[in-house]
Subunit: 208 residues, 2 copies
């Protein structure tokens, strides 16, 4: 009916600008149309902190970069983890993405340094060994005389493939190669554990 269509110009909002904002917000990770609408209405409200937020986005985009040495998110390059004398440079943790550094730093127990691969080997997606900085990893291992390299990659096919590749790359070198344990998460209910995790937890079971 004509009056329906008329009322629906600019989506359900009577406002193309608001509709455009909702669509833009819906494209952010984890936001559906409903949450995007809620946020958009909040942002256009007169008393909203939108200007502050716009400033924060701009500042973060201008100031946030990746450490040229390890690839972690930082404002100073090289980053504070790489320059800190209190961090053991002979202990190196290999992760896939800059985001993977965050849980380690939040937990605060790790006293070594990082190497961000920036991706995982994936024949299906066309990511090959030449696309990842394995030469820089090798150079880093030599330069810092790494004694232990911890592989902390996703427990996915790509993660396993990449872990195997790193293992072969370092074969014959005088360093300890380790990886994160796979098993039931702390506080995780056995009944709701997926089968693959359960099988791994059984396979890697320890003595008392």
């Amino acid at each position: 009916m004509a009056w329906e269509r008329e009322a629906n110009d600019g989506g359900e909002f009577q406002s193309p600008a608001l509709e455009r904002l909702v669509r833009g917000l819906s494209r952010l990770p984890g936001l559906g149309r409903k949450s995007a609408t809620r946020i958009a209405l909040h942002l256009v409200a007169r008393e909203s902190p939108a200007d502050e937020l716009l400033g924060a986005i701009g500042a973060a985009r201008a100031q946030v970069t990746n450490c040229g040495n390890c690839g972690a998110i930082t404002e100073a390059d090289p980053c504070r983890i790489c320059t800190s004398e209190r961090r053991d440079q002979t202990l190196l943790c290999v992760v896939a993405s800059p985001v993977d550094v965050l849980p380690f730093e939040k937990a605060g127990f790790y006293r070594g340094r990082y190497f961000v691969l920036g991706g995982l080997l994936s024949p299906l997606d066309g990511v090959r060994a030449d696309d990842l900085p394995f030469d820089r990893l090798l150079a880093r291992v030599e330069r810092d005389q790494v004694a232990e390299l911890i592989i902390a990659l996703d427990a996915s096919v790509e993660g396993e493939t990449t872990a195997l590749y790193v293992q072969r790359l370092l074969q014959g070198r005088h360093l300890q190669l380790t990886r994160l344990a796979t098993g039931i998460p702390v506080g995780g209910a056995l009944a709701y554990t997926d089968e693959v995790t359960l099988q791994r937890a059984y396979q890697f079971r320890r003595g008392f």
Copy 2:
């Protein structure tokens, strides 16, 4: 330990600007720290559509306003619902907030107009009758010769209080006063219906 604190400058990020952005985003409705972090990292990525989004927020803030007649969200004032000759001006739906117009317009069945109260009576929060535009509602009812006024307010204590107030306000006038039905939602499972809704659905049961 010193190296922990050092690594945690700027939150877990090594970046005060990113930490500030995450905090700003966490303040948006419906976003926790985890989702805010995910969005922040997306926004600072080089290939992110942040500039487009910044533009959309600015444009929406500049262009979106509320209709001076009904209070709905609009870019044109008076809004297209108020100016459309295809909408019945003698049918008036009273809602609390501009957002409450959206589900009606999305569903598209309603052919009347709206009046946004901009709030609900709430003695506890200090919202009294003088704080809401009841005089403008009365003037509107007279001007448009409203034949039916539909109260579409939340089924909360504040919603009920306000509905009762509107009812008394219009007492003695020659118009039909109705309100949305309360009951089990379509597709809602009886077993998971809350007790108050169930009691209302029973109380307002209809004959076949």
